[in-house]
Symmetry: C3
Amino acid sequence: MKELSLRTEARTQLLDITAEVNAALAGAEGALVTLFVPHTTAGVVLQASGPNATKVAGDVERALEQIVDEGWSWEHTSEGDRNPWAHVRSALTASSLSIPLVDGKLGLGDLQAVFFCEFDGPRDRRLLLTVT
Amino acid sequence: MKELSLRTEARTQLLDITAEVNAALAGAEGALVTLFVPHTTAGVVLQASGPNATKVAGDVERALEQIVDEGWSWEHTSEGDRNPWAHVRSALTASSLSIPLVDGKLGLGDLQAVFFCEFDGPRDRRLLLTVT
Amino acid sequence: MKELSLRTEARTQLLDITAEVNAALAGAEGALVTLFVPHTTAGVVLQASGPNATKVAGDVERALEQIVDEGWSWEHTSEGDRNPWAHVRSALTASSLSIPLVDGKLGLGDLQAVFFCEFDGPRDRRLLLTVT
């Protein structure tokens, strides 16, 4: 198992980590890599790479903020800076994601990139990689 | 492959099954365990453990009920007690989840627990565990 | 790794691919098959099979269209036929799904089927299968 250390910079942020994951995989032998997010206010998704990646990621961030409305009545907000909406946004994305390995690298589609999803940043975060 | 039998107690319920999964894994050797939900009106997510777990789980339950509104017009309701919204809530969470194994136990993050998601209970349910 | 070629026929479509996946798996030996979607405007989910499958799939399609509203203000629409909502619907479903193998076939629950989720069709699509 390998571990990636990440730093997010905003409250809600889709962060392209494709290069970091491929670097951590260097020399790995196996058929599949499973990414695992050991946090309950974060997630992982695949989204567009390339020239439109930033716009698309921004749209996904805003849409998740709109789908899970912070104005709803919540239980878990009595102790100050609680963040139940971040837990729900995490549940809507993925906590684990398995991607085929091709020649020791992520076998992604064209114009596909791996994004770490921060829903309660900025924070230091971890991502675990298991090759099988 | 191992199988867990579960009993849910409410129509919508996030049920902490971390202890049951770890008990079923006792002695397992491998790098990864994959949880699989063989039902289409249920799911599995990772959420908070610890003193706030119940409040957070309740917030996630209510948010999923709000995101998928039973008042929308649905096709699959003509035969009585049909539940299309439960199928959608299931699609928004996960049907499979892969978690690293550390010393034969779930390698979860601090304050992270595995929850079975019931969207059409109360019912008897199953969860399948595959170690690779 | 095996690859499935698919053709979707509508803009939003849940397509039952259980038979195609089982055919591609014929003779496979292993404990688990992981389906991977190499596209960012598509996904994969498990939903109902049997006599009500078409109605349920239609309800899931319409619900995902309602949850992610094309009328919201989006960034990534300036260049004509852009589709940020399709990316969000993809993030809400799954890009990878791992299913136990039983006697070389998908070990699904009763009345459970694998659906490819098209959110920007009609298109030619691919699905990658990895057995571990």
